[in-house]
């Protein structure tokens, strides 16, 4: 499942509610979770807030494509990707990637692969506001 959110969210609450609403899958022996959170610094500067632009239509399509491709490549029970858009402040979660599988190896591999693919191909762009109120676009991802 894919979701873009304009409002802040608590990934742990989100996962707990999902677990309750869907019931615990008896066959899913492993869940791998990645949560990406906004830092208050980037490239040596203090950042006070960020705006996350996306491409309506394509961003959802690309995330669906990544999820479908992971379900095909690994033996997974389920895939969840939640991503923020709009205004974000430090300490707020930006992205949640979760995968459920029978065993840990596939869960770890799929979760990492999904996150790296998202960073390289999902159409999102970060515009930072520094503490002196200057604004700049983030030019590229950090290596890892």
């Amino acid at each position: 499942m894919i979701e873009l959110r304009e409002m802040p969210f608590d990934p742990w609450q989100y996962l707990a509610e999902r677990q309750v609403s869907q019931g615990v899958e008896a066959r899913s022996g492993a869940a791998a979770i990645f949560v990406g959170t906004m830092r208050d610094f980037n490239e040596g500067d203090s950042v006070q807030e960020m705006y996350l632009e996306h491409y309506p239509g394509m961003t959802e399509h690309q995330l669906e494509t990544l999820a479908a491709s992971a379900l095909k490549e690994w033996s997974l029970d389920d895939v969840l990707i939640v991503h923020r858009i709009g205004r974000i402040i430090p300490t707020q979660p930006i992205v949640l990637v979760a995968v459920w599988s029978a065993h840990r190896a596939e869960a770890f591999d799929a979760c990492r692969h999904l996150m790296e693919s998202l960073k390289h191909s999902a159409p999102f762009w970060k515009r930072e506001t520094l503490v002196d109120n200057s604004v700049r676009w983030v030019a590229s991802n950090t290596p890892g």
Binding site: H61, K119, A122, F124, W125, K126, R127, W137, N141
Partner: protein
């Protein structure tokens, strides 16, 4: 028939426009879409291209009614 052209993020700000409608009655290359919509001859090497929400390249052919997007490297997650 029209081709809808979109620019995002820092590229939109540099060009000063977010959307351009191009009129064409035949298929044209992405390269030609870029020239006609941006007013620039050279498509920068780091600019990414999507046709109808799927990644594509400068040589791809665009049909009337298609949506083409140009944008800088992505920085989500």
């Amino acid at each position: 028939m029209l081709v809808k052209v979109l620019f995002f993020a820092s590229l939109r700000e540099r060009l000063g426009v977010g959307q351009v409608m191009l009129d064409t009655h035949e298929a044209i290359s992405v390269q030609e879409v870029w020239q006609r919509s941006s007013g620039e001859n050279v498509l920068p090497v780091n600019v990414l291209i999507a046709v109808n929400h799927t990644y594509s390249d400068a040589a791809a052919l665009v049909q009337p009614g298609d949506e083409v997007a140009f944008f800088p490297p992505v920085t989500g997650g």
